[in-house]
Symmetry: C2
């Protein structure tokens, strides 16, 4: 599967931005490259524009970092210098230390990027990353650090492009989705499709996000935060947790398209990579309160991986979102897993 030709075309918009004052000696490349591969659910090779961020110490080893389906390439620094989605863990002196590494991340592909394909797979995301690694002249990445859907993509990358990878660090993601999680996501997609068909897309997308939120956070956290009673408002009772969910739903609609959500949500459920195909040394990080990716699935993954595999269990009340929230606990775990990164160049 890794034998497909990877054709890479440089586009002029690939630029080296001037580094910010606080990162005077770091490089930051925010660009787009056109690559070619055959999508899993397509019959022909397609040309795909991949939007990436590549930043860190010049000439340092590259670490791919990918997050969940709603994350983008802005891992450590946002557009207009805003916050990156994982900047507590990726930065100068952080666990993923930009003084000693370069981080590469892409915006997720959707079927519209893939020509006539109606679905996009984690293997397609991995193929795009592999082509980009070639195009940027990286050769082999020091590590792939993936969380949630990013972990699925990391596993696909390791299975299909083993020569491009030294090690794998996977947080809250496994070789297949749990069927209960698939159930919850398939309902989210049905809500969105119903909304699209009935001209209520935004409300439906917000509801789907609300449902997703109930699967991301730990049960105990809900219990602690939303113990208060309901409030009678506008003729009906509103529960505190409802206000929280509605706010989260509205915020999501402002930044996410229904079609993108449908495609990436489905892509999680289509993910299926045999652990036996992965021989890279792997560190798995799981959270007992994660109901979306049960620890039992990471135990099975650890048992079945072909290479050495360590499972780190991190206690957290935050459920699946622990990969975003438990930065203090995760820092030493990541440092340890990456410990041969420093001085490796």
């Amino acid at each position: 599967m890794s034998a497909e030709p990877l054709i890479v075309i440089s586009l002029p918009e690939a630029v080296v931005s001037p580094a910010p004052r606080s990162a005077a000696d770091l490089t930051e490349q925010r660009g787009t490259r056109r690559v070619s591969f055959t999508p899993k659910y397509g019959s022909d090779a397609v040309q795909v524009d991949v939007h990436y961020l590549w930043c860190g110490a010049p000439h340092a080893p590259t670490i791919i970092v990918q997050g969940g389906i709603s994350a983008d390439r802005d891992v450590c620094i946002g557009r207009e210098r805003g916050a990156g989605w994982w900047q507590e863990l990726v930065g100068r002196g952080a666990a993923i230390d930009l003084d000693h590494c370069r981080v590469l991340s892409i915006d997720w592909l959707v079927p519209a990027d893939l020509g006539e394909a109606e679905s996009v797979s984690s293997e397609d995301q991995a193929a795009a990353l592999a082509a980009l690694v070639d195009e940027l002249g990286i050769g082999r990445v020091h590590a792939f650090v993936g969380s949630s859907y990013g972990a699925m993509t990391g596993l696909a990358f390791a299975a299909n492009h083993p020569e491009k990878l030294k090690s794998l660090i996977l947080l809250a993601g496994a070789h297949r989705p749990h069927p209960l999680s698939t159930a919850q996501r398939s309902i989210q997609r049905s809500i969105v499709r119903l909304g699209v068909e009935s001209g209520r897309t935004d409300e439906a997308l917000a509801l789907a996000r609300q449902l997703a939120m109930t699967t991301y956070r730990g049960s105990e956290e809900f219990s602690r935060r939303f113990a208060a009673g309901p409030e009678l408002r506008d003729g009906r009772f509103h529960f505190p947790v409802e206000d929280y969910l509605e706010h989260a739903g509205r915020r999501f609609v402002e930044r996410f398209e229904a079609e993108r959500f449908l495609a990436l949500s489905e892509s999680i459920d289509l993910h299926d990579v045999s652990p036996e195909r992965v021989s890279a040394p792997t560190t798995l990080v799981g959270f007992p309160s994660d109901r979306l990716v049960p620890l039992a699935d990471l135990c099975e993954l650890q048992r079945r991986l072909a290479g050495t595999a360590t499972l780190e269990v991190v206690e957290s009340p935050y459920g699946h979102d622990a990969f975003l929230k438990e930065t203090v606990q995760l820092a030493p775990v990541l440092r340890h897993a990456l410990n041969d990164c420093r001085g490796d160049h």
Copy 2:
């Protein structure tokens, strides 16, 4: 709160049906009585028609049995002699033995039954049952066996009508809903409201039921049953668990109204009874795989009840639905909790 006057009016449709051949010496009363009480969310007393089933050994002590919001009074025998929803546990020689007890159950009230009230509470259901107990001349019931919403109603009954009750048996229900479960139900209600507003009520109600199904069953059961991969059909991938959920959703729509669902779902979330107000001896039955009513909530309930309280923990893969599915394991638990029922009359 138990001091409100309970006015009961006999309606002519209360009938004693001829007993079936296999239960020659059992009575079976399927009737309607008009009772009066002041609803929790109303300001005045209202007249309410309560539909009930009362069957078992004549003159034997009465046991109230109530199930979840989608259950009805047909506990042990359905209309036209069909199956009752708990007939493995309620019947001649069963754990709740109709040769030695009489079982009383009502159809849940909805706000439309309560005049101008816009919501119905578990305490209203309890008030209706208490009035019915008076009207039928029962005096004091031997036990209230409630599951899920029925457990909530049982707790409200014990708190507000202590003189009408000897003991309480509560399965998979507690003194308050878990906030995560409230979150899941509030989303179900939002889906239904969106469907009603956009003229897609049936599809929305089916989706709400699908979501409810993901909260009823255990995670491991989903894992075991739906491990197969997706199938490409009608232009998109369908997952095995999706077919199961869609079937369950369609079946629910055939037998349930959107308004009824909205009201009873909300009623669960409005439930809030202080355990300290309940002094009846109580047996709690909880299931570790129940994510809707976590065992921790039953532990808290046990600790806070004013009377003696036993917690029976029953292992099951079926989650919240274990109260319906684990009839073999539940039979001895119920027999033990009811053991002074035999020969008590």
